[in-house]
């Protein structure tokens, strides 16, 4: 873990789980896996606090535990998982585009709670959907409600497409009375039914917030005895679900590839690539370098119905795609009208290279970008060669090279002709090491997000008084409206926030929005670079 990553994770933990959890989480990220007492001792916090923090972290899959020898349980933080908190909005949004509002809420609930049972998710989502329906149709007396079955259908579809999966399960053991139970359950990942949904009889509707009287009283009773109202545990007790982040990443990757093809060629070819990717979604593992070979006949049959292109046109497109120098699509055989694969690793590498190129262009100018591209193409070049090939005056070219060298975009290798490494008898070769440059950029990205977050916290802190005031005024306004106050009164309260204050609030909102948007977009770059690094490391 680099310092930048630790810093960012600590900021993320603090923002989402509060200071105590942040302290424990950061400590674990720094120190590696540790037992409970050690954590409490090192951080100087009470055991209860440490326990509570660890419970929260385990619940959200940010910390795992493992039974060591001599019965010690060690806790380990998953730093890379913590950093994924940045991508939560994107997961939720993707679920919305694929499975509409219901899917969105299911994924959001799962992310908010870390892991949940299916019955709990379905109930919660149905309730929330009913609530929003009611808000929209507040004037009609018989507000619509959301059926449980509808929500659980979406849940099943999410599980079928692997976007959500079961958490590792603690095996049921008939508790032996003599032998003390082990200090920690060993969690089992049952691959066979990782995506099988338990058979549940979920009948009912989402409840409204404040409906009939008897409903209300039932609610009260529930509140007094939070856990005793249900006479028996739900059927899927102990089967927890979580969001399958890898599957989401696979989806993001496919989307990026499709849009890259669309930009390079045209809409039709991107649709063909999309079809190929969709066909191999289930057959190819998420980190394979290639998809399974697909024959052009198969592809033709799987094209979406609305796309009426003839087989001939499809074949032409496929040859065109295979001939493209970027080689996203490759031809692997002639059988079945030609077998085609998508070279996922190559695609990611090209995309990462393009990202690097554009960063060099925006940071160092187009002439540096020219040198950079030259190096990418020719691999190793001497100073003099660069000047000649790039057609840039010697002095300027040198200045640019040194600038890029000092920021680690390009690398320099010495090849001595004699063993004494005398500079006059040594070749100095410039090159681009894609992997290390990508790592360096990734590190920068983490750093910039951390900076952005700090800035955002600073902005809100500076304006805290104002924010609190506007919140209060809004709360009062809402309550006045509910009780049916007069227009004049409302206006009077509204005027409690003066015009300059209003303006200041606007500026603040604008700034915070901008920072948030930047965070999201830097994370997209992070995703691309990380996928590239991961796929390179695996192959």
């Amino acid at each position: 873990m680099t310092q930048a990553e630790i810093k960012l994770s600590s900021l993320l933990l603090c923002e989402h789980f509060g200071e105590i959890v942040e302290k424990i989480g950061t400590h674990l990220i720094r120190m590696g896996s540790q037992p409970l007492r050690m954590i409490a001792h090192d951080t100087g916090m009470s055991l209860d606090q440490v326990r509570k923090a660890l419970c929260v972290l385990i619940q959200h899959n940010l910390v795992t535990y493992q039974l060591q020898k001599r019965g010690l349980v060690e806790y380990e933080a998953q730093c890379s998982r913590v950093l994924r908190i940045l991508r939560y909005p994107r997961y939720i949004y993707t679920a919305k585009t694929l499975y509409s509002d219901t899917g969105e809420l299911i994924v959001e609930e799962l992310l908010l709670n870390g892991k949940m049972t299916m019955s709990a998710v379905v109930k919660k989502v149905a309730d929330r959907l009913t609530e929003t329906m009611e808000d929209q149709l507040s004037f009609s007396s018989d507000g619509k409600t959301m059926e449980y079955s509808e929500v659980s259908n979406t849940f099943v579809r999410l599980a079928d497409t692997h976007f959500i999966q079961r958490c590792p399960l603690a095996p049921e053991t008939p508790e032996p009375l003599e032998a003390p139970p082990p200090p920690a359950p060993t969690l089992v990942f049952n691959e066979k039914d990782m995506y099988t949904v338990p058979r549940l009889n979920l009948i009912g509707k989402g409840k409204r917030r404040h409906s009939d009287n008897d409903d209300n009283s039932e609610h009260k009773a529930k509140r007094q005895k939070p856990n005793t109202d249900s006479t028996e545990p739900p059927a899927d007790d102990g089967i927890y679900w979580q969001v399958n982040i890898d599957r989401f990443h696979q989806h993001f990757r496919d989307q990026v590839i499709v849009s890259a093809v669309a930009n390079r060629m045209d809409q039709t070819s991107s649709e063909i690539v999309r079809t190929m990717l969709r066909m191999s979604e289930v057959t190819t593992s998420s980190n394979a370098p290639y998809t399974q070979p697909l024959s052009s006949n198969e592809i033709f049959r799987s094209l979406p119905a609305g796309y009426n292109i003839s087989k001939q046109v499809l074949d032409q497109y496929l040859t065109l795609l295979a001939d493209d120098p970027l080689a996203f699509v490759g031809k692997s055989g002639e059988s079945g009208g030609g077998m085609y694969v998508i070279n996922l690793h190559k695609a990611l590498a090209s995309l990462a290279t393009a990202t690097l190129e554009s960063i060099v262009q925006e940071r160092f100018g187009s002439r540096c970008a020219r040198i950079f591209r030259l190096l990418l193409r020719k691999k190793h070049l001497e100073q003099k060669q660069i000047e000649d090939f790039a057609m840039i005056p010697a002095k300027e070219a040198k200045e640019m090279m040194y600038k890029m060298l000092s920021s680690n975009i390009v690398s320099l290798q010495e090849i001595p002709k004699t063993p004494d490494h005398a500079p006059s008898r040594t070749f100095y070769l410039y090159a681009v090491n894609m992997l290390s440059s990508a790592r360096m950029l990734l590190h920068r990205c983490y750093k910039s997000i951390a900076n952005l977050m700090e800035r955002r916290l600073h902005e809100t802190k500076e304006n805290r008084r104002l924010l609190e005031k506007s919140q209060r005024v809004e709360a009062i306004l809402a309550s006045m409206q509910a009780t049916g106050a007069e227009e004049a009164q409302l206006q009077e309260i509204e005027e409690m926030i003066t015009a300059p204050e209003r303006q200041q609030l606007e500026t603040l909102k604008h700034n915070v929005n901008k920072i948030d948007a930047s965070e999201n977009q830097v994370d997209e770059t992070i995703f691309l670079l990380e996928s590239y690094i991961n796929s390179t490391m695996k192959n």
Partner: protein
Amino acid sequence: MARSGRGRGRTAFTFDVGAIGFARGEALPEAAFKPSALYPPTDFKPVPLKAGEDEDYLVALKQEFRTTVRNTPYFVCIKNEDQGVERYSKKYLRINQADLEWTPDWRQLPREMKPKKKITKGGKLKTKPAVSKANVDVLKKLEELEKKSDGEKSDEEEKEKERGEEEEEAEEPDEYDEEEHEEENDYISSYFEDGDDYGAGSDDNMDEATY
């Protein structure tokens, strides 16, 4: 080492300065002895952010998630911020205390995660301040008592002993009960309540405030 005895000034380089692009007699850039500026001037301005409905929605999602997560039981505060004055608007901020309770599934967690007795902790907390406060008074009182009850001392002591034994016997089963009770509905009552304002922020009070 290699440089020693090689004259002074610019000739200190072991190689031809011309090779890296400096003409003869040209001034070399000054050596840098400090880190570069914290905010160096940027030669190139950043390109504007992507904009569009998608991006706006993502921003909205992000902000919403950030605020919702604060109202979940997973957001552990050190203390409820004591603002001194009770805010009028607090009444209208709907925070359902019942939602803030959360019982982890203990089957999924190591056994040591489960909090142990809370009664012992409570007892300690109560007794400690009393002792420290009335320390001086107690000493005085003890002295007085000593003077008074010199004669009856032996009798009293025996009685005390007997009583003590009885009490101990009586206490044991009690303690067992408490523990068993704890096992059943552990957490909720004790642990995930904010320890500091236990009682003040309990359910009943909240209900009164909201209704």
